[in-house]
């Protein structure tokens, strides 16, 4: 027996490793809610060097922008001041609308919307495989992060948490091929599902050919899936193709958030957490 094993040692070990890989792959096909202990340990082990590298390179980028690239600052400053004036004007109008909305809701005895809490976090890693769209953030279960919590920035939706370890979490971006978010066109309230394409764009699917959608329309979350609250910006329509024979239009979206330049994001904790 031992001579048999010695003779075919390499073959047995290779066959065992391949069999183990297939076992891991097939066990992954089952939907489980827990990230395995080994995966959590690897994510937590890699977190400190990734955090250090992220801090280092962000420092270099900040130094370049703040001290070396000065000749753009003057123009950027005046453009930002103009944007600020416009936004201040819009804020005042929005505030008025908000107050009116609250009064009307009270009149109609509608339930008050509870506000969610935001936890800010930094991105410490991107997906190690280029075609996939996930990022790693430096907050985990210890910071009350759970699977399927929404990840946003002030510009709009980024994605949702798919894996959580003690100190880090993995976020599936809306541009990933496996991502889908229920959505509606803000102007016309046409409903659809925003799916990622594995590139920097998304697709708004299942919008009927008869629905009115235009380039430039803002698409927001519909709030039905229980992950994203209603009304968060997802993207703007950048291309439309109408099919004479099919049921649905082909609508391409440019995400509101520039997912290639993300440095910080916020996790939306449900109210009460």
């Amino acid at each position: 027996m031992s001579s048999f094993f010695r003779k075919y040692q390499l073959l047995i070990i290779v066959a065992f490793l391949i069999g183990l890989a297939f076992t891991i792959y097939s066990s992954n096909l089952k939907a489980t809610s827990e990230t395995s202990f080994l995966r959590r340990a690897i994510m937590d082990t890699y977190a400190p060097p990734l955090r250090a590298a992220s801090f280092f390179f962000t420092g270099i980028k900040d130094f370049w922008n703040n001290y070396v690239f000065l000749f753009h600052l003057q123009r950027e400053n005046s453009e930002l001041r103009k944007s600020l004036d416009l936004l201040t004007e819009n804020t005042v109008q929005m505030k008025e609308l908000l107050l009116e909305n609250e009064r009307l809701r009270k009149l109609l005895s509608l339930k008050e919307r509870s506000s969610a809490r935001l936890i800010s976090t930094e991105i410490i890693a991107r997906d190690a495989i280029g075609g996939l769209k996930t990022i790693m953030i430096n907050k985990g279960a210890r910071d009350l992060i759970e699977k399927d919590q929404a990840v946003v920035t002030h510009r709009g939706v980024v994605g949702r948490c798919i894996e959580v370890s003690s100190n880090t979490s993995r976020v599936l971006l809306i541009t990933d091929i496996n991502s889908s978010v229920d959505a509606l066109v803000q102007r016309t309230r046409s409903r659809g599902i925003v799916e990622g394409r594995g590139t920097s764009l998304c697709e708004l699917k299942y919008v009927a050919n008869t629905e009115d959608v235009m380039i430039g329309d803002l698409v927001v979350t519909a709030g039905l899936c229980g992950i994203f609250p209603k009304g968060l910006p997802i993207g703007t329509v950048s291309r439309i193709e109408q099919n004479n024979f099919g049921l649905f239009q082909y609508i391409e979206l440019k995400p509101s958030v520039d997912l290639n330049k993300l440095e910080e994001v916020s996790i939306l904790l449900p109210a009460g957490d």
Partner: protein, 160 residues
Amino acid sequence: MKQFLLLLAGGLFLILIQAMPVNFFFPNAVTPNLSLAFMIFVAIYYPSMGSWLLAFLLGYVLETLSGCPAGLLILINLSILLLIRLTNRVMSFASLASQLTLVFLLNILIDFLLLTVSQIVIKNPPGLIVPRVLVSSTLTTLLIMPLFAFYNKNPFMAEG
């Protein structure tokens, strides 16, 4: 054992480089697959039983730091090792040019395989996918070239 640990540390370090959010070093949506190139290096220069375990471990760690389905990258690493070991009986990868060509071609193959498995190839036009794969493969080959060049001049790992 020392060689195994050295190679394991090297592989883990390259995976760390691959996962860093250094967008201003690499063009958007292009990530060099340094761990794949490293596996080719191991397959050529470390023909011992430990290389199979190395392929398994590095594949598992890379899967954990990516959104790839668990088990897929392990299978890819083991397949690369098997392919190169079998091909080595027929043709030699002794020269730098043949090694870099192998890295470039295998990188294209694996990239297309991963994009096909994740259905990105189906949902996007070839005009978008092909340049991305070519740029990624070229970048990977250029980045791993110093390792192969250095080892060709200073072979320090004994076979076996």
